[in-house]
């Protein structure tokens, strides 16, 4: 998994163009959701990793995002679901940049196929080397928000 700072930086790019800070926060939370849920179950409940595969596939994340959106107030629930699901899909897209020797990080078409996909651009352990880049992206997005008057409400 790339660290959550990388996922935060990737979610801040589309998030900077959202005016509603609550939706922005939910988009970021959505980008954390696959790892927060799967790592919690893996480490705290010793859940087998095969069981957790749908938490990095679109259909599983659709259900997870819907369940999470139900905890948000009714008036915000529909945009909350879109933000959570969008963030979760962004998470999968960022995970797909990793090189797991062709074994992939996401079964995009599960339950129709167990084939896992990846782009193989970066060694999974070297994602920590992206931290300076993440910080730069976060600073740039904060600056852009202010510069373009896009400071969300």
């Amino acid at each position: 998994m790339p660290d959550l700072l990388t996922h935060l930086a990737s979610a801040r790019v589309p998030g900077a163009f959202l005016r509603d800070r609550r939706v922005q926060a939910l988009l970021i939370f959505g980008s954390f959701l696959p790892d927060v849920v799967s790592k919690t179950l893996y480490w705290a409940a010793w859940t087998p990793s095969d069981f957790l595969e749908p938490l990095h596939s679109p259909l599983g994340l659709l259900l997870l995002s819907y369940a999470a959106a139900l905890f948000v107030e009714e008036s915000l629930r529909r945009p909350a679901f879109a933000a959570l699901f969008g963030g979760a899909l962004l998470h999968v897209a960022v995970d797909m940049l990793k090189d797991n020797l062709g074994s992939g990080s996401s079964a995009l078409f599960y339950p129709f196929s167990t084939r896992e996909y990846e782009l193989g651009w970066i060694d999974p352990e070297n994602v920590v080397l992206l931290i300076p880049l993440d910080v730069a992206v976060l600073a740039l997005m904060a600056w852009l928000e202010r510069r373009l008057g896009r400071v969300p409400q």
Binding site: I28, D50, A67, R78, L101, T114, E125
Partner: protein, 154 residues
């Protein structure tokens, strides 16, 4: 859409979503175990696993061998047949075919240099990021326990 996102039968909708997700995960456990069997099954069920492809993550190289190198796993040593010669002590990830009860013919070898510090840094940064996020988001949402919902402050 109103049916899906309204407050009516809220707990039932949550139960259905959680149930469907649990069913999907339960099915995945069986299907992924069949599609991607664990290397741990090779020494025990070699005849069933012969020729299948396995992924071994971050195993310690313990010795060089004439045709490759040996790695240590939680089920004992494996010989990896490969033109790669990583030094003893290094961590490597491998994709390869089972050609013997404790032999894997590598299709690809990835050296996991610096794993001992990169992994803890990854987790530390992730946990720190999540905690900072929770503090930041706390200003946007509140948690009225009696309602069982997150409510925005605006």
């Amino acid at each position: 859409m109103r049916i899906l996102f309204g407050d009516r039968l809220w707990i039932l909708k949550l139960a259905v979503a959680a149930g469907l997700l649990a069913a999907l995960c339960h099915r995945a456990r069986r299907e992924f175990a069949e599609a991607f069997p664990s290397y741990r099954s090779i020494p025990v069920y070699f005849e069933n696993q012969r020729g299948k492809t396995f992924y071994l993550w971050a195993k310690a190289v313990v010795a060089a061998a004439p045709d490759g190198f040996d790695i240590q796993t939680d089920v004992g040593r494996f010989r990896v047949v490969s033109p790669e010669r990583p030094p003893a002590g290094e961590r490597v990830s491998i994709v390869g075919r089972a050609t013997g009860p404790r032999t894997i013919e590598a299709a690809a070898v990835q050296r996991n240099e610096g794993l001992a510090w990169k992994r803890p840094v990854n987790y530390a940064v992730s946990i720190g990021t999540f905690l900072v996020f929770l503090l930041w988001v706390r200003r946007r949402f509140r948690w009225p326990i009696r309602d069982g919902f997150f409510r925005s402050r605006t």
